[in-house]
Symmetry: C2
Subunit: 547 residues, 2 copies
């Protein structure tokens, strides 16, 4: 092997040193697509309509207001807010100042929210009216927050126990013709906490560079494939890894942006989809299950909707099939995590798949999380750290690397990557010859039975397809002989009659006998604050089941 | 105006510091689209077929061979080569080593080629067999080149007077499993010379960062909009601003790549378009005029071809209309220059245009060079440096800025940008309310013939040296095939006997044959008030000369 030495820039290039800055995305949209609309539902206010030109001006006003409140470069500024144009503006206003927007997930437990705010140490907290009771309740425990701003106009404003300022009043006092500072592209921009099932939330501090590169990459046809004719409605939350980067990918591609606030029920989404001509949306499976039910109930069609990117947990195949065959909507899975800003892979078709026919495409993009994307390297390795075969069957630990992947958690004493820069996602996955990746389990949820691994996700996907089953959870329970054995916990639809033997018989048609759960329990399945099955609680509740 | 101070990274982000490296584009294609083909015509050899996986390995072999020849980080390595898979490999092999590929335009004058090589100072020159006579002729004047490599296999190899090595033999000696060095993203990668109308050629030194960002941006739907189903055939030369970045945009999007070598005639292109299923191509107008003529002559259709990006000079509207209405091929104009790597604007449709109807779209994309792209800022300013109105009528100097725009020419003593980082393109342009830019006056005296620039001043300087000539003026006159061809207007000294054939014979000793004026006119040469040749009047007077 011929290995030249590592080469620093012996001869530097002579192009311009323009930094990648988040504010330049909105500046570009304002200049090139200035009349394209941003439409937003609000709490207690009518739908707001603005344009990218107006949003750029409003971001300038918001930045001016924040500076007047004392915000400086490097400061953390917190938000507790839904998907609205005001939250969208703050994505640019705060980062454009060189400050960091700490988007707090309001669905977390009180203790977690308090932990995050005291860890991030913001001086200013901006929140939607919905959260006034939450803010009032937790304010006494917030060690650094001194200024509270309610994201609303004066007609609905409430000062509350925290003396909240009115966002629109603050903006009105500003011209908005700000000269934005030049911000180092490696400066922190967003601080997003990930709430694992164990321990305190951990902060991921996105840089401008990571966000801009992610926005460029996610617009490519291998990912979201946006054109200026797309109308994009993010139904993933802006406080969840910046809504998968959609608030950046939409303006960078000149797409009209529709923001549904907190109203993710089927009827509310359908209203916006029809009235605003939404072509593209994305979110967790639960939302789209509700939306499908709404379409069925009302007999309506999904208007201009063409593509749905669904992630957060595995997409039920039946849902994807229904969307395509009944409504002509293509469902694309996506996998990522807060630590990957979040785009990891997305399931878009390729010619190699197409050569095998339409069914091969559907099979791949419905059963795999997605394919390799430029800008994020993936490896699947065995216990010795060697790459497993790319055969779609061999599984191993999923490692990722790239400019929008985490290096270190906020305030952590050490890097979260190994010596070669790889971040261990904690997921178990396979890679196939088409470059498609499939998550088979979380490392901590995989069931180790007699030296073999059993994928809890595979078993759940099969069980949940059985009529009457609403949620299926599979966990590994300590076993005296096999180390662990699977236990199936079923939550059924109200009124459904489901018996354990039939479910197991159904499962036996799809998996090896030794993978079948030893026991089935009918119970309510506990969920975490982010809507995922709380397996930790289940494992604890049934810890002695097989002993 | 609220103006916070410029902010360095008070709080740096905590994402991975992965540099943007050109080799990662090919590495990605090899990993994610390894079986996608790269097809190449060659000189005196049959069509070569390989894949991105093989090209990545071959790039490793080529890099190994270059290291063995003494190549080091920062070195310039020169090429005189057509659009082939070997030239494509060198784009990655050379830059992957941290060295700089100096792609020399073989169509320049001998003196210009010699100037470029002695200015870039390469030790190694790789060339296609076509150029052996050129290389043998100029080798004695090359001050730094000591190693010559002919890009061919041993069956057609010739050592020549320069003792050329055989490229494929060099590769065969290497494993190709190179551990690529980590290269600083600001390191120089490509050195492309631009031959302006006056003075010596000037070198533009692209960085890795500029090339990778350009590749990401040009894949977006606002630009080339590639999907993995596209089959891309670059008919712009690889030595012209890296063929508009297509050798990077194609693999980053998983597109099959078809390389036509030097054969740009209609029949040869059509053969590849049909046999390889080309969906996307690009090049100068002359090529596509010839291609259209071929289709008409043979009554053939353009197969899967869907889009043609045409630039280098303005697209004749009739050609664009013919492509669309007769063949269903969408012609998109593009504007850029070597100094912009080269993507500046490209004419892709927007909803704002579409709202005015199909004709409005055609009108805009056929008569404008294109619309604003993320990553390259445009300004059109008046003599006082103020932005002119965006009305599509007010014209001014076109300024550009961004991470893939030049800062300084190679070895120049000073930057080529103003205090705010803007580069003056030397073009006069308008901007309209849709964000579309139109060039109204090129650097007004340059003659554009078949996509190549002919310097009027150079020709005049040669002609005026002929005995009996008093004033020589050269202007570009519209030509049905070549867009423009030079016309020489001679004013002789009283009583002098000068004949056209002798003057042209004299000129042919100093310039390439294709640059010779098609016709010579004896006339009084009009002068402006300041004593300069009034070319505007001349162009008007002889406007129909070649029609």
């Amino acid at each position: 092997m011929t290995t030249p030495a590592t080469s620093p820039a012996t001869l530097p290039g002579l192009m311009q040193p323009a930094p990648l800055q988040i504010i330049d995305i909105l500046r570009f949209a304002a200049t090139a697509h200035g009349s394209v609309e941003v439409v937003s539902r609000l709490i207690d206010e009518p739908i707001a309509r603005s344009t990218y030109a107006e949003e750029f001006r409003r971001a300038g006003q918001a930045a001016g207001a924040l500076v007047r409140l004392g915000a400086r470069s490097g400061d953390r500024i917190a938000s507790l807010a839904w998907n609205t144009h005001r939250h969208f503006e703050l994505f640019y206003a705060v980062t454009g100042l060189g400050a960091v927007l700490n988007t707090v997930n309001p669905r977390l437990f009180d203790e977690q929210i308090v932990f995050i705010l005291n860890h991030a140490e913001p001086d200013i907290l901006l929140f939607d009216k919905t959260f006034l009771p939450l803010v009032e309740r937790l304010a006494p425990q917030m060690k650094t927050v001194t200024k509270f701003v309610m994201l609303c106009d004066r007609t609905v404003h409430e000062v509350g126990a925290v003396g909240a300022l009115c966002y629109e009043d603050l903006l009105e006092a500003e011209h908005g013709d700000l000269t934005w500072p030049v911000v180092d592209e490696n400066a922190g921009a967003f601080l997003c906490y990930t709430s694992g099932t164990t321990g305190d939330p951990k902060g991921v501090l996105y840089s401008h560079r990571a966000v801009v590169l992610h926005a460029m990459a996610s617009g490519l046809s291998s990912a979201f494939g946006f054109t200026a004719f797309d109308v994009v409605m993010p139904c993933s939350s802006l406080f969840h890894a910046t809504a998968w980067g959609l608030p950046f990918a939409a303006p960078i591609n000149g797409c009209k942006l529709v923001l549904p606030c907190e109203r993710m029920d089927g009827a509310s989404l359908q209203e916006l989809i029809l009235s605003e001509g939404v072509t593209f949306s994305g979110g967790v499976p639960t939302i789209w299950t509700m939306y499908l039910e709404h379409l069925e109930r009302t007999g309506q069609a999904p208007g201009q909707l063409k593509r749905l990117v669904i992630g957060g947990s595995a997409v039920p195949r039946a849902m994807a099939e229904k969307f395509k065959k009944t409504h002509g909507v293509q469902v694309l899975q996506i996998w990522g995590m807060t630590e990957t800003a979040p785009l990891g892979v997305i399931a878009t078709p390729t010619p190699a798949l197409a050569a095998l026919g339409e069914e091969a495409i559907d099979e791949a993009i419905w059963t795999r999380q997605g394919r390799l994307q430029f800008g994020i390297e993936l490896r699947v390795v065995d216990d010795q750290g060697n790459d497993v075969p790319r055969d779609g069957e061999s599984s191993g630990a999923l490692l990722v690397r790239g400019p929008w992947t985490i290096r270190r958690y906020f305030r952590a004493p050490a890097d979260a990557v190994n010596a070669e820069g790889w971040f261990d996602t904690g997921d178990i996955a396979t890679l196939d010859q088409f470059g498609f990746m499939r998550i088979t389990d979380r490392k901590k949820d995989v069931i180790k039975s007699g030296g073999e691994w059993i994928s809890s996700i595979d078993l759940e996907n099969i069980a949940v397809a059985y009529p009457g089953v609403k949620i299926a959870a599979v966990v590994g329970i300590p076993h005296p002989k096999w180390e662990e054995r699977p236990l199936l916990v079923l939550e059924t639809h109200p009124g459904a009659e489901v018996d354990a033997a039939s479910v197991l018989a159904h499962m036996a048609e799809h998996i090896a006998k030794w993978q079948l759960p030893d026991q089935v329990v009918f119970d309510a399945v506990p969920l975490t604050a982010t809507g995922k099955i709380d397996k930790k609680t289940l494992r604890r509740a049934y810890a002695d089941r097989y002993s």
